[in-house]
Amino acid sequence: MLIMSGIVKQFPGVRALDGVDLDVRAGEVHCLLGQNGAGKSTLIKVLAGVHQPDEGTIELNGEAIRPSSPVDAIRLGVATMYQELDLVDGLSVAENILLGHEPTRLGFTRRRALRSTATEILTRLGHGEIKPSTEVGRLSPAAKQVVSMARALSHEARVIVMDEPSAALAHDEVANLFRIIRELTSQDVAVVYISHRLEEIREIGDRVTVLKDGRTVAVGLPARDTPTSQVVSLMTGRNVEYVFPPRSGVAPGAEVLRVENLTAPGVFTDISFAVRAGEIVGLAGLVGSGRSEILEAVYGARRASGRVLLEGASVSRSTTKAVRHGMGLAPEERKAQALLLDQSVTANITLGSLSRYARFGWLDRAREDVEARQLVETLDIRPPDPQRPIKTLSGGNQQKAVLARWLLNGRKLLLLDEPTRGVDVGARAELYAVIRKLADDGIGVLLVSSEVPEVLGLADRVLVIREGRVIHEGAATDLDEHAVLDMIMEGSAA
């Protein structure tokens, strides 16, 4: 039904797509796999009319098309959910969902129709509780993702493209998403689905196309039956064990962090726990359970009552002091909270430790460059050019640069909020190894992840958070995915 062939897209200095083929059938879920920077997002942007291809053809239902703008693509029946949330904060949920094709009469918005259409779509998505009149800027990241999805569904589309829709979603939300996708495919809509989570591909996908370095390396693999190892080696060109690094078995050292009765009214209540040197502590919970806020409060970036002790000393609540005392935070939303998009990879990596390269405020740029280059190599950030503006990197590679920021100088405590969001399988394994190695070197790590297996596999100890309270604390080895999910969900329906 949709055939893209020989697509080439050249950016200044990078050939992002170098002859890609894609063949999608009506009513199927077609998965697009590839490492960070393989060209997945670029390919779908070509399809969506955002980028014009330098070469290649697109055929929809047997007709050659050449979408020259997003409007064009939408009119042709291609709706897209982009990787980066692209919502307008100042507008309401309903206005965002129907942006660009609002119901109107003589230029006036038909507000009742707008609201009811939005409510309908949201209800269909299982999120009737999101009020259409709420300002989008005030929603949590997860809710924004839902709105973004609702927008894609608001079009009468024959093809719906989803670029990492599950990255910001927790377990139950993903199930919900899959329900919607099945509903769509049953109506013969084709879904192009991008994700780095292979188990999702296996659950929802029909066929898989694999990209590597801007080229198609496999077409139409059966999603359920292709062995993981084959997919991974196609993507990476080598065999990667998708496993967690072994725990060292050494008993954790002295207490690095102690949190006592941390409370922020309405967000989290009475949180107490400790992190020891060499220990990874995971926070599990639903989206919206307040884990990010706990991390921010510990870091001094958010006001809360209670005490935070670092190596026994009370730290005053400012991020500057937190960093000086040896903490580091890799925040959840990299674009909004972590990156200087216009700056080079180097400048982004060294931002948290500038004083390390300075004497009397004078920067030693050569040393800065050398160390950044080393990290780029260690973490395999691609393309491996530290001088490149970071905004030209793919999402996953940007995420690696965010982590790299805190690997530079001796941290005592790292706070990682969804550190593998949007990171591909191969790199994920490397990141796990890096995080484990940091712990083995005596750093305390506090980890938030919406992927329960990740928390269980990586952490030594797990805190389960529900509605802003700790409801369970115990060794990761004593828990399994089901037990955690039960705890997380329990009572949440009420």
């Binding site: 918005t109 009149s133 709420t134």
Partner: protein, 323 residues
């Protein structure tokens, strides 16, 4: 939970204006205490509104431009050019109606040029409209030969906008109110208005959603130019002249009113009501100073302090609501 969120959302908006309203009320109280016999008279209130009318109309256009992520430095100059063009002897020969049409056409045209340069020439709005400021003033000087152009006999209908009163209020105040009302409706009730928020708040998202961002941007500047044209009619009515010196530094006042009214310079947020309240604060300050016989130097110092206090007060108010 969600209910609470949307509720705070609405309260937030109200609280924002509440701060401005409190500031206005405080200023009014100061007026009542210091000059009781002159301040609260009908004629003084009418006078304040008449003074606010010209720049108020411009402020409406400016609010659109700033919400749409731009800025328009050329408003005062465009108004001057429109007033001069409409009062040349050649134009005046056609009578008051054509003069008004001429002012509006010239204003809209100049705004359109701004819009073209910014949307299609991709110039930074600050620079494009600065260039327009300079050029429009120059052109106005050329056309008028640097003379103040009086409205001739036979065309007093224009001046009548200022001198004719209905229910004790000059016509130009009604025009001001009309522009505000229409502006509010367009911004809040039409797709054009709502899309303005999208274009200013996240142009990339707007583009991906299929909005023609360039065309929309161009129209915003044309709209601002249109408002300048209307303002030119009002200033002609008030001063009985067209002049290249009209509207000097209006851009600063209009932008300040918009920003004090809660619109962000980065675009994507803001309200017409806020801008108008902001403008009324400025107008009221000047009125109070002159009623109290303060000299300009002291006025300036006091004005600076009042702005700071008003804004801090407003912020405080916001914060209390927020926590």
């Amino acid at each position: 939970m969600n209910g609470v969120l949307s509720l705070t959302g609405r309260r937030f908006g109200e609280a924002r204006h509440l701060g401005l309203v409190i500031a206005l009320v405080l200023l009014a109280v100061v007026g009542l205490v210091t000059v009781p016999e002159n301040f609260a008279t009908a004629s003084n209130l009418v006078s304040i509104l008449s003074l606010a009318a010209t720049i108020g109309v411009i402020t409406v256009g400016m609010t659109f431009v700033i919400i749409g992520g731009g800025i328009d430095l050329s408003v005062g100059a465009i108004m001057a050019l429109a007033s001069v063009w409409a009062t040349t002897l050649a134009t005046q020969a056609f009578g008051p109606f054509i003069m008004a049409v001429c002012a509006i056409l010239v204003g809209t045209g100049a705004g359109l040029v701004n819009g073209l340069l910014i949307a299609y020439g991709r110039m930074v709005p600050f620079i494009a409209t600065l260039a327009m400021l300079v050029a429009a003033r120059g052109l106005a000087q050329r056309m008028s030969d640097r003379k103040t152009q009086l409205i001739q006999q036979g065309n007093e209908a224009i001046v009548a906008l200022s001198t004719t009163r209905v229910l004790g209020i000059p016509l130009l105040v009604y025009i001001f109110a009309l522009v505000v009302a229409v502006g509010w409706i367009v911004l809040n009730r039409t797709t054009f208005g709502r899309r303005t928020y999208a274009v200013g708040g996240n142009p990339e998202a707007a583009r991906l959603a299929g909005i023609d961002v360039r065309r929309h941007t161009m129209l915003l500047y044309a709209l601002s130019g249109f408002c300048c044209g209307v303002a030119a009619i009002l200033i002609m009515a008030r001063t009985t002249t067209g002049s290249s010196t009209h509207g000097d530094l209006y851009e600063l006042d209009a932008i300040a009113a918009v920003i004090i009214g809660g619109t962000l310079l980065t675009g994507g947020r803001g309200t017409i009501i806020g801008s108008i309240l902001g403008l009324l604060i400025f107008t009221l300050i000047t009125n109070l100073f002159i009623l109290n016989g303060l000299n300009t130097s002291d006025q300036l110092v006091a004005k600076g302090l009042i702005i700071v206090v008003a804004v801090l007060l407003q912020r405080r108010n916001l914060k209390e609501r927020a926590t």
